[in-house]
Symmetry: C2
């Protein structure tokens, strides 16, 4: 936050964590309060998204403008992204400092960098900043009592957007904790890959963390059906104390 | 926080982020205030550690008891750990709820899980909980304007405690962001490994993030000499927009 509230052309990506409003940092709250306009992604302009619902709880007095986004790749997503960026440019041109709310952390698998790049292509002088946020895998590990890393183990953070291939590759390293994002749809295949690697024991899946409908359970128990898009899977290093606390 | 303030035998590991007191979450503040006793690791009982200094700023009214820890592996560290755990057991036996402060996140390369395991070995009924915290790599990425992950890239989080070998192995994957913890001492060798992999451009190192003496610079510029123990190195995926914002 080099120049908050100065009215300069600034776009700030603000991470608000995975769901629980208590996991929002003081800096994120300040960034939301100091912005002239807070915008949040939503599936439609008349639908309250997860990020907006966190802002409503953490900063009830801060109004949020929704920008419609499309999750599935394709022309509809590109069009929505262009429209959202156009709206941000309008706000910046009006001299407003804009805060864009993201779930988790804006630099870890969020929409923010892509949006910021489109905005910067049109308004190169825009200052872009980010405020880090607690990620879903950290909240899941804390809630489930799973130690991810203690000594010299490694952590591999992968997505399963394209299927379980990236998960299988990460499992090659037995001393690495593996975190899988956006793998809900492929959960049965992920469970199969974990079982084949002898890593199903202790592996956890979490959905809607900190929100109504939250589910935290073992991958083994959830493997029969797909989970939701933003489900998070955490696999402790092989032979670690993870999950045994 | 299943049973805060109930006086049950509970030990809570509280992540307070890498240094800036504004990066502490509301839940961490609550856990510190609700604990009967807040303890923090320090290099000596008469030295204020980083974690304690964050608590002093985020919760000035919360007193902190120091537990002497030893960083270097060996008998001195084991002895210090045993003494620290013994003190925690004393506090728990007195019916106090104890909060142990950690830099960053208690489940990601912190001392807390090891301490908690020693305590649980002596008092198996102790409830152990953690509160997640912003990690140093997230703060570094935000501060430097480095996007770590957008689409289906991966992130490898490794330590360089044993030298640059783990870094070199992680660099094999060009589409992965690589984060190196505890690599200060080996920074010249890490820079060499990055250069050999064509990944030196855009790689950043940060020290004392959010604290007096903070340094955030390119690895190329810092490679001539060792950095400090807790230095963090961030390497964006090859060919990404990382660092170009």
């Amino acid at each position: 936050m080099s120049s908050p509230g100065t009215g300069m052309n600034a776009l700030v990506g603000v991470g608000v964590g995975p769901g629980d409003p208590e996991l929002v940092t003081a800096r994120a709250v300040r960034a939301l309060r100091e912005a002239d306009r807070v915008v949040a992604p939503a599936s439609a302009v008349d639908a309250v998204g997860r990020a907006e619902s966190i802002v409503r709880q953490a900063c009830p007095d801060v109004p949020v403008e929704r920008l419609a986004f499309e999750m599935a790749p394709g022309p509809a997503r590109d069009r929505a992204l262009g429209q959202a960026a156009g709206r941000v440019v309008e706000l910046l041109d009006a001299g407003l400092q804009v805060a864009f709310v993201t779930l988790g952390d804006p630099n870890v698998y969020s929409t923010f960098p892509t949006l910021a790049a489109v905005v910067r292509a049109q308004r190169p002088a825009t200052t872009v900043e980010t405020v880090p946020g607690i990620t879903a895998f950290q909240a899941l590990a804390a809630q489930a009592g799973t130690v991810l890393l203690t000594g010299t183990e490694r952590l591999h953070l992968v997505t399963a957007l394209d299927g379980p291939g990236a998960v299988a590759r990460a499992l090659v390293d037995p001393d690495a904790a593996v975190v899988v994002y956006k793998g809900g749809r492929h959960l049965p295949a992920i469970a199969k890959a974990l079982a084949a690697a002898g890593r199903l024991d202790g592996a956890l899946v979490g959905e809607l963390l900190g929100l109504p409908g939250e589910r935290v359970t073992s991958v083994a128990d959830a493997a029969a059906a797909p989970a939701s898009y933003l489900a998070t899977v955490v696999v402790p290093p092989a032979g670690s104390a993870g999950g045994s606390r």
